[in-house]
Point group: none
Chain length 197, copies 4
DNA sequence: TATGAATGAGCCTTCATTCAT
DNA sequence: TATGAATGAAGGCTCATTCAT
């Protein structure tokens, strides 16, 4: 069975999910302290395994991050693919904003991490993936023939969602209300953009 | 004079401006590679001095960053102070956005650095300063009694300016045009916020 | 077995005793040159390992010293405990002196080190332990109601043993004879102290 | 004049006594923290001068210590010289003990420093001086033909004086009383030594 | 009689990584 | 599926010392 009893009675899940546990702890620490400031020693200690054990599951420190990234950003990949196949209508754009907001919410720790560690990420393998994802997002939401201000509005809509997650953390309001407000503003922006200012 | 010729013909300015040169090079490297990834050795080599020389001018690595931060964010400090004394009119808010955009432009490398190294900064001494500056900005631009969406619009305006600097770098348009567009959208947002959606 | 042959024919014991070897070499160097003057590089080189290897076995330089201290001063700890349970007779005191002399002999390099590096030790974690051990020794050998001179005699007895180890090194006599003489004088002192001058 | 008024009204003696002030501060810090742990920066800061200023007055850090040592141990030098010219009577020896005790008292910080930094001193230029001084003291107080125990008693007398200064600091008795007791025990020891146990 | 600026050596420590077991 | 032991590289920092001014 996957569950063993420790001496002190605490249950510990082993067997087969160590890889997952590494990813969980790693993401938690990466988001909390940053990638550079989080050492493998720390991750290993938190899991009560040795550093060497991490190397059984992942080839390098970077690989841990890459694997997390790949697992958690699939929805955005899917969103972009979906977006490419849709007509460039206002409804599509609004739906993209809605879905993107949802995706951010679902993988909040990862995106918080990406947001706060851009300098680090840029030099990592996921840097390019990230950039191209962002580029993809832009393409499905921006009309390249629209006036510049409207293009900016679309970017702004995306950024409003980000801001909603990471900057408005300390705003003392009901999280749900806040989510709704953020979404409304973002949708408003793409709407204005679509309708030409 | 303060200029001497080296063997290889390169000019080297010494005498009293070493401190400034350290700050310049440090900011450049910090912005380029991140704070953690930039070592004092690297800074020193670039200046053709020893690491120890850096320690003559600054007590720690962090102090270098702090000094840069303090020197370059004064305008924003001033802006906040100015904002506090103004009436909360639409014109004031628009002017704040305008001035903030200008300030970001003037110290672009620093703000790019702050944007991309948030995780690092949070644990540094400037973390708090930065947070309180942002808080100050919010206070002078947000009306706490306004509907939540309008508050979000104000934050969004600020973030639009940031996005304009750092995310739209690769947009292939004339920088001046882009600046104008970004500013327009930001001002638009505070205007809508002021007029109640 | 735990012994392997190197290319150059020197034998090297590995496997499980590296920790002990570090302690041995460290104590030797600490005693010879002092704590501050002994660098981890030096210890590592002498053992033909890297500095980092030391850090696998000990968390800090200080920890190396602490571990040596704890391992080697146990007998004195025991002596104090024993002393506390004995009646305050002359025989007891004499026996304490005898045993203390023996303990000093058994861990001579450590005590020589402690003697010669008091300033350094005071600021280290073992400083307090050392002080309280000395205090403990005093308590079991000094009668607090005795005349001051007799109290001094007891301290003096202890110090005579120390002097015997470290100061009389260069006296050109048979070490055994010297040991006996030192012990005799020390016992004499506690005897006089006990009998009231 | 040698006295100037600072802005804040504190008097500062300058001119000609800087050398002396360096020695004073240095000795204080050396005694307090040890030689190695005391940096020239620290000394300079305490005196409110630059490190370079120290180098105007002394060639090296070691020289500062040497100069202090030479200034303060002259009395012991004198004592030894005096001792050599006296007959080896009991009275002489007792007088030597008395004078040595006085000398220790007069330059207590230095001797405390020497006591606690033997490892450091051994490698310094004063190491030899110190050793030969101690050797000199022994020669004038020990009768080389006496039984070993009596020789030990003499050493012990000297060490009792040391112990009196540095180890008995925390004994809660009137310092004068303590001094007297220590001296009595020391004199007792040389007396016993002289009379043959 | 001092300072400002800098150096070279060295120190303790941490890290990602490796590999035999 | 992991561990124990170790490495090589690097990092931030401190120190005694120098020298032109």
């Amino acid at each position: 069975m996957d569950v063993t009893m420790d001496d002190d009675g605490t249950k510990q899940q082993r067997r087969g999910n160590t890889r997952q546990r590494i990813q969980d702890v790693a993401l938690e620490l990466f988001a909390e302290q940053g990638y550079d400031k989080t050492s493998l020693r720390e991750i290993a200690e938190r899991l009560d395994v040795t550093k060497a054990a991490l190397y059984y599951h992942f080839k390098t420190k970077e690989e841990i991050l890459v694997s997390i990234f790949q697992d958690l950003t699939q929805p955005i990949e899917d969103l972009i693919e979906w977006g490419r196949e849709q007509p460039h209508t206002l409804e599509t754009k609004q739906e993209i904003v809605r879905r993107y907001g949802q995706a951010l919410d679902d993988a909040a720790p990862l995106f918080r991490f990406m947001q706060e560690n851009q300098a680090t990420i840029r030099e990592l393998r996921i840097g390019e993936s990230f950039k191209s994802r962002m580029q993809g997002l832009r393409e499905i939401i921006i009309d390249p023939d629209a006036p510049l201000t409207d293009q900016v509005r679309c970017i702004s809509a995306l950024f409003t969602l980000h801001a909603g997650m990471f900057v408005l953390q300390d705003l003392e309001v009901d999280p749900e209300e806040k989510r709704a407000a953020v979404l409304e503003v973002a949708i408003d922006l793409v709407t204005q953009a679509h309708q030409g200012g």
